[in-house]
Amino acid sequence: MKKSTKTLFNIIAVSIILAMLIFLELNKRKYSYDISIIERSIIYAVAAVAMNLTNGFTGLFSLGQAGFMAIGAYTVAILTIPVEARAGVFYVTGMNEFLSKIELPFIPALLLGGFFAAVLAGLIGIPVLRLKSDYLAIATLGFSEIIRSIIASPQLNMITNGSYGLKKIPRFPSIFVPMILCSLCILIIVMLINSSYGRAFKAIREDETAAEAMGINLFRHKLTSFMISSFFTGIAGGLLASYMGTIDSGTFKITLTYDILLIMVLGGMGSVTGSILGSFLVTAGREWLRFFDQPLTLGSWQVPLFRTGFRMVVFSILLMIVVLFYSKGLMGSKEFSWEGLLGFFKNLFTRKQKLNGGVSNGK
């Protein structure tokens, strides 16, 4: 495909998305459900792409997403709740004198949240990244539990409001705010992946010994990857706080990490576009599949399996199918390209003639 055709396609695609967003923004009320799904998807996409940076591109298994998101979310929440609303929010113990006067605009608070997440990532990374990567998995998982219990502890009531959670966090004024911020984050990560650092990360993933022999400082690169990833995970957490408007420690349970993991695996480890696609599919799918939880009658026949909880079973089976049979996920380690899309459709047609070829992996 010629370069000019590609540019044309890109422009068309971007304008279609823009037009759609403007349309949604204008009919905010009628489509508030769709808007909230899109916002949540794009925020999860940032977290998934960041997770992909360590897990998919550098080959480190980190499971601390929920913890880093909690740090970002609480930083944003504490700093952006309007000063006059704070007495109402901290209705049990009151807020810390010093903190209660500080109010930051959204963007600086967001960056600060990311920064804190990165610093903490450094603190765990320095001891643990020297060890085998399995230990990183369990240490980060443990770390996110520690963060959660610290946030909920009564000793921190004056800062995090302990068990009572934070509310009145300013929500996004329009769908464009999260859209632009998230696109920016993903763009920066993509640029990083395409830089010499990114190539070093991939070399580490493929073969640590060989990478070290090529003169790559293993520890430093692993730490960089882990810290940058945590920075953006923190940002995603901050965005989530603004999306939700109220947060408490229960929001950041291990299940949040597993959700992001599912998105990354489904999209394909090592593919940025895969993570974005996965994020939209999982978040929207969760809503589409809600009907699984309601009793279904076809004619007079009551379908037996449909009742509360069935949706999540279907979801976990889907995850297992992807892991076992399509271990590359939707995109493998490839990125979206127009050629790929065309090829996919061609493939679909030729397969149809052969019949029963099954779903293509989307390559």
């Binding site: 298994f61 001891p127 399995d134 998995a137 443990g142 539990e145 993991l261 509360t308 079973v313 076992l324």
Partner: protein, 293 residues
């Protein structure tokens, strides 16, 4: 803290530690052989709890207990065959993700089948009888747990060191490929490992839930993680290590709560883990692992 209170806390801690130890052994054995953190192990423990609720409704305890143990072992082996075996040559991360997937599936399946409301765990005769020693008061199971744990650990160590299958397990965990070349049937060794791990999880489940009396779909996930930490603490791959790790966690956690730091009782486990990884990554009883190139 009075002496009676102190002793009561000790009793609670040791009993909890015993149950942790039994689950930790399952982790340590599987990790030793497959280098896999079996995230689903804790959920298997939860499923065993539900199995007991349903079998004890229809059978007397002396029939129900063997049924539950056999059921747990079968489920454990089936999980290994379906979810782990196909990925044995895949990257390590894939198999761990598969384990997380199984764990989610078991939790969601339990929520679907038995609802999220907790179910009362049935009382097994004798186990629940309450004994009083002066100011101390505890049920029989509290005393039984640590004793049974130590007996089982002794049996495990004997099996690993003295029997043929034990030797095969040691060989596979030392060097997977060489063991295969030497004619060891890897698949049956792995299945056997999962069977033993699941059996201990089943026994642990009976002791743990009898003491706590209720099962819900998520009651396996946190104990599961903690027990993995116990296994790392003791030195992954070492069975006596897992037992010591389990006891350390159980007693430590109980005293932390007793001193009014409930908030940090879960965090404690993981802080201990990170400190351990800093000071002695191979754990208390672990052998020095050399990275294979």
């Amino acid at each position: 803290m009075s002496l009676a209170t102190f002793l009561q806390h000790c009793l609670t801690g040791i009993s909890l530690g015993g149950a942790y130890a039994l689950i930790a052994i399952g982790y340590t054995m599987v990790y030793g052989i497959l280098r896999l953190i079996n995230f689903a192990h804790g959920d298997l423990f939860m499923i065993a709890g539900y199995l007991m609720i349903f079998t004890l409704a229809d059978f007397p305890w002396y029939i129900a207990i063997p049924i539950v143990l056999i059921g747990t072992v079968v489920i454990g082996i089936v999980i290994e065959r379906l979810a782990y075996k196909p990925l044995r040559s895949a990257p390590r991360m894939s198999i761990m993700i598969s384990a997380i997937g199984v764990s989610l599936l078991l939790q969601n399946l339990a929520t679907y089948l038995f609802t999220a409301l907790p179910r009362g765990y049935p009382e097994i005769p004798y186990l629940k009888r309450i004994y009083q020693f002066g100011p101390l008061s505890a049920s029989f199971v509290t005393f039984l747990t640590p004793i049974l744990t130590m007996a089982l650990v002794f049996l495990m160590v004997m099996m690993i060191n003295k029997t043929k299958i034990g030797m095969a397990m040691r060989a596979v965990s030392k060097d997977y490929e060489t063991a295969e070349i030497m004619g060891i049937k890897i698949n049956s060794v792995v299945s056997f490992t999962f069977a033993i791990g699941s059996l201990l999880a089943g026994i642990g489940s009976i002791l743990y839930f009898t003491d706590r009396m209720s099962v819900n779909p998520f009651s396996g996930s946190l104990p599961g993680l903690k027990c993995f930490v116990a296994a790392v603490l003791g030195g992954i791959g070492s069975i006596p290590g897992a037992m010591i790790g389990g006891f350390i966690l159980g007693i430590g956690e109980t005293f932390l709560v007793a001193l009014g730091f409930s908030t940090f009782s879960d965090a404690f486990t993981f802080i201990l883990l990170i400190v351990m990884l800093l000071v002695k990554p191979t754990g208390l009883f672990g052998e020095k692992a050399t990275e294979k190139v």
